[in-house]
Subunit: 527 residues, 2 copies
Amino acid sequence: MTPGTPTVEMHPQRWGDPAAATDLPESARGLVELAFGLQQPVVATDARPAPTALDDDLLDGLRALVGAEHVLVDDATRVLRTRGKSTSDLLRARAGDLTDAPDAVVRPDGHGEVLAVLAWASEHRVAVVPFGGGTCVTGGLAARREGLTGVVSLDLVRMKRLLAVDEESMTAILQPGLRGPEAEALLAERGLTLGHYPQSFEHASIGGFAATRSSGQSSAGHGRFDAMVVGLTVATPTGSLDLGSSPANAAGPDLRQLVLGSEGAFGVITSVTVRVRRAPEVTAYEGWRWPSFDAGADAMRTLAQAGLLPTVIRLSDESETALNLADPSSIGGSDDPGCLMISGYEGTREQVEARRAAVTEALAGLGGTALGEGPGEKWVHGRFAAPYLRDALLDHGVLVETLETATFWSHRARLYADVRAALQSALGDGALVLCHVSHVYETGCSLYFTVATRQADDPLAQWAEAKRAASEAMVEAGATITHHHAVGTDHRPWLVHEIGEVGVRVLRAVKAELDPAGVLNPGVLVP
Amino acid sequence: MTPGTPTVEMHPQRWGDPAAATDLPESARGLVELAFGLQQPVVATDARPAPTALDDDLLDGLRALVGAEHVLVDDATRVLRTRGKSTSDLLRARAGDLTDAPDAVVRPDGHGEVLAVLAWASEHRVAVVPFGGGTCVTGGLAARREGLTGVVSLDLVRMKRLLAVDEESMTAILQPGLRGPEAEALLAERGLTLGHYPQSFEHASIGGFAATRSSGQSSAGHGRFDAMVVGLTVATPTGSLDLGSSPANAAGPDLRQLVLGSEGAFGVITSVTVRVRRAPEVTAYEGWRWPSFDAGADAMRTLAQAGLLPTVIRLSDESETALNLADPSSIGGSDDPGCLMISGYEGTREQVEARRAAVTEALAGLGGTALGEGPGEKWVHGRFAAPYLRDALLDHGVLVETLETATFWSHRARLYADVRAALQSALGDGALVLCHVSHVYETGCSLYFTVATRQADDPLAQWAEAKRAASEAMVEAGATITHHHAVGTDHRPWLVHEIGEVGVRVLRAVKAELDPAGVLNPGVLVP
């Protein structure tokens, strides 16, 4: 990837490539109308952000550091760097609310320029919001500007190099601005893959994966992104961190794990050394039917604890399965669809055959019914499509949003019931509440909820109340407030329940040490 | 394990159970005499520590917190809590140097009492050295007393409970004072195992495993100890940390990874929630011969990168292999013994058979020669014996010590050559320098060196110089200064080269936040 390669910009009020936007599929229209009615909400198209709060003297300082052409203050660019892509972000954008627009977008190239920008920001007390792919769904791109001179978006778009590949150690050093497909394309030239495919894959960036502890759809086989990272370079206002002497060691606490998940509040990740693998020779995805969510989840647990996981494994609950199958061409003749599991295998032909055979035997023995590759192919084909469907539903006045958590296996059923009940209660009987398990460990799993309901007059308040209820249910159950969406600003109120007052003080102490002026993504992560 | 169960105390000047101490085996005597000569160093047996620096008023405060019978100031108890078990520690003990003896040994029971002791210590500026098994080999039990009122050893011997087992999630909550065999015995009652077997296993403690990021001989199959931990409770002078909402999550940095490896400098670990597994139905260990260390290491790399590791895998270099085989009954008729690899399999019969067959096919295809179970059984039988042999050699004036590092695969050969050369150069041509690989990852491996040489007049200075040379070679090669022995005081001078000035400042900031009086293991870990 040559530096400066243009990246497809997402529409400021929608997900993804504007060319890929779709209206509600005809097949779903009837169902949606029946469930929620079809409205036509007003979308503001003429909103403009406030003028930049940074005067020319300040901007000249920035221009001197990175080149004038890389300090952008035009409205269009600033609008494109306003917030992320949560449903609330989209609703605000559609309503013409651009209060979180940065005052400038600055595009440094390389670690040295990032360090210089951070020094400038600290000196002038300007907030810095690192921007990779802009796919955040937890408010992590909406920095607090109170008490500060202004806010700049630190756009990593020029830092898209594959810096090194070590095929003996099977590691690669990637710059943070590489989007998922860009990183995979560069690695594919060497026959390698990272194997990290979150739903945001097409637009999210390497730096963002690291800064938010992303977890991808192939996590059963490739691990979470934080498990792939063996090294990190970080620019902070008080100097550089260069971590990663070895795959693992006992040289004190693992500071890599303090940077992973730091969401731009401790520093800007300027390179990530990741473990890579040979690109798969073959892939195979297939469906399994389970009589219940419990039965399917127990089967996942058995596989995880037997060390027998496929590359991909996911399980929809009864509601999500039924909705998936509401496409008439997919029903397959069953009155009770049960719960759909997808299992996927990636690797050499030999690896895939061996693992698939072993998993197939295990799942059949546990009471699963093999559905063949049809459901697997359907899932692969649509794996990145859900956010486009959300836009189409928003276009018709249907509020769609997701949230996720994780817990230990013995708490899974309770957590599922409690979060589901909290969402249903907050959103009303007319709301659809769907759930799937898509990340499993020996000791536990994630739960990913999707809700759809008719938009209220104030959809932001409507969702905020549901989110509050769900988060409280998670905290009450002792589960995490987020398995892979990060803290941002949306989860910050509950972080203290997860890591305690002492944990919060540790985060504050680290931030104060690395960012004494408090300019790094202020208001994000650290309570 | 009932609280207060007596634990076998190690001899203050030797490793392990005094009843298991041995003289140099007759079979090795000739070889040792030939290589190094046999001397009879003087061992001081009548040394006594300085009187306690804590007056009765202070001690009464402590007694009020934990009970008078759990505040011990007698010489014998204090001597037993003086330093760890590095060769330098043993040499100092043999020379009658008890300057690091604590002023008192305090034995709190439970999190609340630990908190109370830490508050007392902070108020009175008394250093606190958490003591689990006392097996540290990097000076982590020798706290600095300058500027402080005194030093207490916080002995976790009363905290030996298995607090909870969750067989659905396959987790267990262990108190920190449980020694390796004690924890395994408690888990075995449920048919479970932790699977963590460092060489120090027989005496080291759960809290110590966590605080030092221990890695065991079955790390290929069970992972490092830090990878087994899903939750931690920590008492600090400023409050409690209770971490572990889920197997993994994105709720900010993983603070568990900041506690793991904190070596008592940030707090006292009062419980550890670990992932457990079913106790193995069958075990099998076998030997392989490789034509060279490089060939064997490449084979390990291939296995690791193919996801095809046994439970145990280790490889001795030519020198270590030759020395191992110097026992005449084991030579097996080969003139060129090459390099010995041990591969071990633990699990259900089915798992062991399948993995063993796959690994055997792979290793044979890579040029290994199967040696059958003989070498494997020999290794299993002697796996915890080396520290006893060290005592026997010290008894005859032979200096024996180990050090270890880790790096990425592509740097392995250089690191091996450089550290070996540094040790040989520092210790002279007469020194034996042996090495093995015993922990492997997809991206790299550890290197564990053992040296044996005739003791110089000042063996402490002799070893310090070799250690310095080896550590500099590690730093120069960009490798870690310790893969699984932790930082302690011995590695502290090189930590800055590993994590940088900014990394050191982060550690200091965390310590200042959690331990503002600076009483937690002062001088250990944090530069």
